[in-house]
Amino acid sequence: MEEKKRLMGGEFLLKETNAEDIFIPEDMDEEQQMIYKTCQGFLETEVYSMLDRIDDQEEGLMRSLLQKSGELGLLGVAVPEEYEGFDQSFVTSMLASEAMGAGYSFSVAYSAHTGIGTLPILYYGNEAQKQKYLPKLVSGEWPAAYCLTEPNAGSDANAGKSKAILSDDGKHYILNGQKMWITNGGFADVQTVFAKIGTDRVLSAFIVESSWPGIVINPEEKKMGIKGSSTVQIFYNDVKVPVENLLGRQGQGFRIALNILHMGRLKLGGTVLGAAKKTITQSVNYANERKQFGRFIGSFEAIKYKLAEQVIQTFITESTVYRTSGYVDEAITELIAQGKEKPQATIEGIAQYALEAALLKVFGSEALNYVVDEAVQIFGGMGFSAETDVDKAYRDSRINRIFEGTNEINRLLVADTTIKKALKKGFDLVRYAKHIIKEMNGAEEAVEPTGYFEEKRTYIRNFKRIALLLLGIVSDKFQRQLFEEQMILFNISDIIMNLYTAESTLLRVEKIENNKGGDYASIYKDILDVFVYDTAEFIHKSGCDAINSLEEIEEQEVMRERIRKYTTVAPVNIKNARTRIADKLIEDNKYNF
């Protein structure tokens, strides 16, 4: 059997891959599907009947829900068996995150506990720390929180002022400081707290128990959404942290924080899927029930457009989430085969895909924003009523663009990481750009693509050329000042984000067709057609925006022309394609793509 060829993180810009070499949601096996349904079953039996009580933050309720999900094993999906977990793959834990994503505020408590709450100890804890904490985190007996952000250290997480001073007897760190916006903080028993030791300029991480003297927890923040999720400020006044509770090495905190964030960003891509699918089902249920002018509103084209677009955004995100998760699993397996321990392999495997993680975080959160916004619109006045679930979904969605690194920070990361990866790989962006410019002036290569997927592949290849061309031009022009050029970098990040998601969808649809035939795949081709068509226009505009923002650059005109050529795609009857997508949704009366 031919070995799977995995693209390394960021390589998608330079290389192509086969449909057979990526993981798609349709590859889920029976056990994975069962785990997904168990999560759904949990939400249906334990969470949905309590949404109002959860949002009122009824004393003890969220804690008990976490514990109940722990009884089902759902807090330990990714934790090894020796700590009472189930040692499942990254894809499987992604699947659980996706399913739980439909759980409104509960979903935030769940992600925070199983992600930023548990993973620092799982990946960086020593054996004693893992033995002591993990089984109780897995059972839900001890809910967990992650305390990085401070009043003056948000996006700039390293600017934190919290301090830990080693006690004279060398047995404790004396911790002082203030953390804010701490999810699960109101009831968590275990916290990972970041602070600087002594005169260090860099962070260290500590495992702190909330019951220790000197910890003061403020009342709950009043929030726009995810009202049921606990969010508090925490103060540390001379808290004695035993030295054995230092997590990882002194000064390793920032690295820990970053690696946990990579994971969180990827997972956020999954979480938004669960929320989006649920909201789409609610939207179409309403569109199939509500009549105006004697017709179901779902029969109006204006509503069909929204329904179709909700599906498209969700399907694209999903294709990208699982392609990337599949890569992460393969990377972890390879690293273990090379002799790495599982925790280390997992951290490295995920870190390899930091670029994709940042991109998914942005794309996914914005996709969900679109879905919930149009859901409110489809519900009309009822959507604005605080009594419907879509109102809650709308408010709850908003946080996703802010936490796990704001979308601005992540957009910058996409461009930044791409440039760094290119450098590291010895790929000379500047030379590449010159080559393309020369190619522009020389003879045009005019290969007519053959076949549906080949044609789409050609488009995406061209989109990649634009991204690389722009990166080369701006690296050359701005050199070290490049990272001040945020407007231009955002244009480039948007291009990279859209071409990666488009390519992931292309490969998925191709794999679906290979497995199940053209008839079955035709609705998915509609999704791909519309997205690639829109993406081409969007990349054209983003590319031109970037070029037009450059002063004193020769050949601006010829570059615009080149961008036009590289974003020219065959016309598609997008109205018919969207109508077919909406009609399937209307017929199924639920998200079933």
Binding site: E30, E31, Q33, M34, I35, K37, T38, G41, F42, T45, E71, L72, G73, L74, G76, V77, F86, K291, E587, D588, N589, K590, N592
Partner: protein, 243 residues
Amino acid sequence: MSTVPDTTTKIRFAGDGTAFDVTGVQWIINPWDELSLTRALQLKEESNGAIEKVTVISVGLKETEPVIRKALAIGADEAIRIDTAPLDAYFVAKQIAGSIKDDGFDIVLCGIDSSDYNGSLVGGMLAEFLGIPSVSSISALNIENGEVSVNREIDGGKEVLSVELPFVAIIQKGVALEPRIPSMRGIMMARKKPLNVKAPVEADSLTEMISFEQLPAKAACKMVEEDNVKELVDLLHSEAKVI
């Protein structure tokens, strides 16, 4: 235990309306059977080892195995699949009877009907083929000091019976509150539990499916103000034409 389409499935018929179109259908455990299984597991847990095991048996082709494994994940100890398509109630009851008549069992629990064809026939026929009693419409099933008692829903009330083993318990709502969700541990263990495939016994099917028809599309609901009886009567008369 039968495998049925998920209750939110959009039902479509293939070609000329003589067959159910299964494309895209999600399969689940028949809800009544799921309740039966839940109660069986509870009884086993409460029995302090007196109940040796809970076996699920299903008549169906290989495609039904994921649903059967879900029953194992929920907690059944073993499963039997009789490898043939379930043609009708008579055929299914024959298959189950043929398979279990020589195995020791005390109680056969089965759902009162299956949520797809709603025949309500298998349980009674099965008891007949096994030559043992059956009790239908059971809303509670208890074992205390080795005594088995059941509650039955009857017109205007409830009947409590004490029963001798073995018997077929035909289960309806009430016997257990919520079906169980398979836990991670259950899911992991399911792959290690036996799922025995048995060849079918000789049996006829006594029915022939002639055609299926879709229900007429549901008309929109009309709301009438609570004090406007006249309008209600008018509508029932002139629009709905039922009075």
